[in-house]
Symmetry: C2
Subunit: 346 residues, 2 copies
């Protein structure tokens, strides 16, 4: 019988709980991700007690393709969970990594993605402390399209920053809406690759761990009411949540919304609204009107916030609506996307 | 355009981050799983500070079929993560739920599985506090076999029990090996269904949350050195880990290992070794020789431990081997399975 581990692809037997799975974990996961908690290889990790309230989040990643300009599914999986913990007002302290591998996945692809996971976790300063690996049979689409390769789930834990109260209920009329830079780049990068559309300046995902930037913002002393990462559903999704849950209106100035000319052009060609297109390194921050300058300076001091801008404000409104004030001075209602627009974007 | 939510199956648009996804989450997840942390619908859950060291684990579940005698993928996903946290010597306090749904999954199947998740979480007393849902395209196997329906990832957090030190390094020669009941039932139940083999008495998965049983064992005062759930790889996998990491031998008495006649018959027909067949409600406990009776009585006082038994002992051995003393008085070396035996068992 040939030894499956001589081959350069994942086989179903790598998920069986036997010696072959031990080899996969040791050679392709533990070495690149090495840290004290992970190498104990127990059923889980033991971490110090949390010093404040504990935050706990999870996200699965099914993006296709697995690798795209500026990043890959591994960068999304770490940045996404770091950001989810951070926008709760917490310091992320540990990440779990659940991999579902498809039979036939080349080890060279797995190794590149695990290297990105390690690099992004190091950038964020948040270790991957525990994990799990499963293997599923190779599958094809009805049109003969290839299988998915891998899915990732990450969960994250963190500790609430003492004195930090970023919660949607604190938002009031008069508060100002900020974003930390040009929007829609992740979704447009993915959709451009999928559609085989090339642009003069290539679009790259904005996927990035924002914990350091947001902790700097917290320490600036600006009165930040609420922070949310604008992933699936884009900034339109976050603003709709604010309007609906708080029964308030949101007015956005189109000309203030950071959007690169390349992204604008791509969105037009692809028929997408940048406001509802996914980001993976952008947050909507709602801040007290008096602290807008302080908050923007703080964001702009960080590499992921150099183009931060105020894009609108919270207003009284009945019914609660998100409205865009267009370049021409008109108004249009911004709606939460219904659902079809961007499958498998993260 | 027809409204996709009028249909009785999951469509790709349910994963798009829009209104349709909100409906899926509200109608099919939040209602059955309802609890205070989950309904806040933020990016994650906020939990009280951990009072001791924090335990953090994760597992993905890709079992096929999704439903089988005695349980389903939902019961595995909750019981498995509850057990992983518990065998670290901790009290599980919260679970995250990541769902990857395949386009075409009937809502009636999803609803049954989510109901099992809710019921198992309630039995364990551990709430699902945060979650995430993605949708992938329908895929088929090369042989035309249907798609997978859904994958689940759960992560768990918990707090180390004060005074509890279950760690593999505490194991010494003379310690006794216990299991809490008949082995191999989960793996055999799944393989019987897959192979269309029926037995006089149907085999059922043993999947169960063992936190209450193991906390009773801890409180019994018996000196428990180490506990590990014997999932993929079976009890042979756990015993191999003990031998390899501690450079000790393990001797198992075949006639002491709890195994039902039905399971023995099924294993023979399927050509499987019960020792390396997966369990989802069985743990290997290593206890000090002096406390064996106390530990067994404690386990037997709980519904999931009524058939608990001592099955062998830890010995000096060079090289470190796991050996089975057969009914006939012979010896055979028990090896960790290589990997092929039971794909997609959990």
């Amino acid at each position: 019988m040939p030894h499956p581990h001589d081959h350069d692809r994942v086989v179903l037997a790598h998920g069986g709980g036997g010696e072959l799975m031990n080899q996969l974990i040791r050679d392709h996961l533990l070495t690149p991700l090495r840290n004290d908690a992970l190498i104990q290889l127990g059923d889980g990790a033991v971490l110090p007690p949390s010093e404040g309230k504990l935050v706990f989040t999870t996200d699965s990643y099914v993006v296709t393709p697995l690798e795209f300009p500026g990043g890959d599914i591994g960068r999304l999986a770490i940045a996404g969970t770091v950001n989810d913990v951070t926008v709760m007002g917490a310091v992320p302290t540990a990440i779990s990594l659940g991999l579902i591998l498809e039979e036939g996945l080349p080890f060279e692809v797995l190794d590149r993605i695990v290297a990105t996971i390690a690099k992004t976790a190091e950038e964020a300063g948040v270790p991957v402390v525990t994990g799990d690996t499963k293997v599923i049979e190779r599958r094809i689409g009805r049109d003969g399209s290839p299988g998915d390769g891998l899915f990732i789930n990450t969960a994250g834990v963190g500790t609430i920053l003492p004195g930090c109260d970023w919660s949607i209920g604190r938002i009031e009329p008069g508060d100002v809406i900020l974003v930390n830079g040009p929007i829609a780049e992740h979704g447009l990068a993915i959709m451009s690759v999928r559609n085989g559309i090339e642009f003069e300046t290539s679009l790259r995902t904005d996927a990035a761990p924002l914990n350091h930037m947001l902790h700097t913002l917290f320490k600036s002393g600006a009165d930040v009411k609420f922070v949310r990462d604008a992933t699936r559903g884009g900034i339109a999704g976050v603003l709709s949540d604010i309007a609906e849950t708080q029964s308030l209106g949101v007015e956005i100035d189109e000309q203030s919304v950071p959007l690169t000319p390349t992204a604008r052009h791509a969105a037009e060609m692809l028929g997408l609204d940048p406001l509802s297109t996914a980001n993976e390194g952008k947050v909507v921050c709602v801040v007290d009107e008096a602290d807008v300058d302080k908050a923007i300076s703080s964001l702009q001091s960080h590499q992921y916030g150099t183009k931060a801008a105020a894009i609108g404000r919270v207003v009284e409104s009945d019914p609660p609506l998100v409205e865009l004030i267009t370049r021409a001075g008109g108004r249009r209602v911004v709606q939460r996307p219904y659902g079809e627009e961007l499958p498998r974007i993260c």
